[in-house]
């Protein structure tokens, strides 16, 4: 029988621990498929975050380092600077990248660190039980915004990708999703481009994935997809935010 679909070598056979319907496992798989297809497993080093994907290194069969909360891009900088011919990526959630790690995020991109930053935005702190994130939507009910996110108290959701495009170090900034097969294909393209740009030494590639958190959102997986389409995407429109200028 012909094998048409299987686990790439770049994923271990450890079963994902993610909740049913969560986008993390899809993003992991797509990222690792690209690493395998490009044949760069032996040259790729990842940085795992704090949050639900803290164990990304259990699944991704590449050399990896676990970073402190918010510091993944600084850790990735340290790796890339001493191993400039390797492919380096960081993988962070919204609390990690857009709250506690904002300084590291902005300065890593501002230096144009030649890395791929993967940013999972699900508008909530999933791991710790569904608290308000910097990207939580106005009015969003979470365990720490039980009456809905109040703009007077905590301001607006931060659109970090929209901020980063203004930095010359940002070479490619895109916002993608994994809620349907078409979105997954687009995300895969974004990762492929990012590794190609990294190979060419172009600067920072920033791939945001607007994803779901059925558990944190207190929804079924199906409801969470509907919420993504109806509520999250209007606030975080999908598509490229910054693409290389055509020569």
């Amino acid at each position: 029988m012909e094998m048409v679909y299987c686990r790439p070598d770049t994923l271990t056979d450890t079963p994902f621990h993610y909740c049913p319907g969560c986008g993390h496992s899809v993003v992991h798989r797509v990222l690792m498929e690209v690493v395998e297809e490009l044949g760069i497993q032996d040259k790729t080093i990842g940085v795992a975050p704090v949050g639900c994907s803290v164990f990304a290194y259990h699944y991704m069969n590449v050399d990896m380092q676990e970073a402190a909360h918010g510091r993944a891009s600084a850790v990735a900088t340290g790796i890339k600077r001493v191993l400039p011919d390797r492919y380096v990526f960081s993988y962070q959630g919204d609390g990690d990248l857009a709250a506690i790690g904002t300084a590291e995020t902005i300065h890593t991109v501002n230096r144009g660190e030649n890395i791929l930053m993967v940013f999972i935005n699900n508008g909530i702190y999933g791991m710790t039980g569904g608290q308000m994130a910097p990207t939580s939507l106005l009015g969003q009910v979470t365990t720490t915004s039980p009456y809905g996110r109040d703009v007077k108290m905590v301001g607006h959701p931060i659109k970090i990708a929209d901020l980063l495009i203004h930095l010359p170090g940002a070479y490619y900034v895109t916002r993608q999703a994994v809620h349907n097969p078409n979105a997954v294909r687009k995300l895969k393209k974004a990762f492929e481009k990012s590794f190609q740009y990294q190979k060419e030494g172009k600067g920072t590639c920033f791939v945001e994935v607007v994803s779901n958190c059925p558990s944190g959102w207190r929804m079924t997986p199906v409801e969470s997809i509907k919420y993504l389409e109806e509520t999250m995407f209007p606030a975080y429109p999908l598509g490229d935010l910054k693409v290389p200028e055509k020569v």
Binding site: D42, A48, D63, A68, A103
Partner: protein, 365 residues
Amino acid sequence: MEEKKNKNGEAKLMKGNEALAEAAIRAKIDAYFGYPITPQSEVLEYLEREIPKRSGLVLQAESEIASINMIYGAAGAGARVMTSSSGPGISLMQEGLSYIASAQLPCLVVNVVRGGPGLGTIQPSQGDYFQAVKGGGHGDYHLIVLAPASVQEMADFVFEGFRLAEKYRNPAMILTDGALGQMMEKVIQPEEGSLPKIKTPWATTGKTKDRDHNIITSLFIKPEEMESVNHQLQEKYRKIERDEVRFEEIKTNDAEIILVAFGLSSRICQKTVDLGREKGIKIGLLRPITLYPYPYKRLNELADQVDFMMSVEMNAGQMVEDVKLAVEGKVPVYFTGRMGGMIPSPDDVLHEIESIIEKQNVLQD
């Protein structure tokens, strides 16, 4: 301190911070990540000027938090890396140091201490002793801590720090102060490239077919596993405590009073020893060179021969706790010192000793 002469070259007049930075280049560091703060900015300045002409990489980060995490990443990738800062910046690095110690990565961190707490003052202090030797960050871990007392040692201990850090896969710290950082003395630099690079099969350099993927982490979520990592660390610390204690003794043979002091205050106490002996008071000095591991055993032995000991520090009395632990109540242990960037003089220390002797005589009469 005795002037050193060897085959490596002529003695050169250098600032402590610059001697340390030059030694880092000679130790062939792969990278230095740092952030400016007085009184150690010359380290970063010197490296920014010299490294592009020679070898290695230097990067000014956006904060000490970023610096220490760049250190973590680069050390995890197998590089020889270093950072430096002063009190407030070192406080910001505590999170990273705990992670580095837990992940068992070698690196060298320099603290050119200024007066605190808070923003404090830029004048020299030894107020970060507790932070350096008792942890600083969260969890059960130790840094290997070296305390130079001269510009020569500012250079030498860069090599020694890396040697120990790499031997034990543990972060090492040079705990010095603003005066040693700023003062100029003759120094003979270690020979460039004379520190061999260690093998780092555990480093994240890219997973090849012949091995499993390497993971650098400090996360061990199962308590059984976390405890076993802690056992590993503690075993390592016991070995360090057994094999790596370093100290210097001055005129302790016939001493009836022992001063205990490290770094700059040991320089002051050396003078006190001479002044006291001119007056017929038999003072000796024990200078811990490693603050972790600490020379508990030797101090305990010396306690058998002396009337009392006195810890002399530029803080409110921190190391004195370790001196007391060492002597186990055999003899009284006193403390004298200045705080907030003030430096005690040799006479100040001698006066303290004389007043203690006087009190003891009164009691005996």
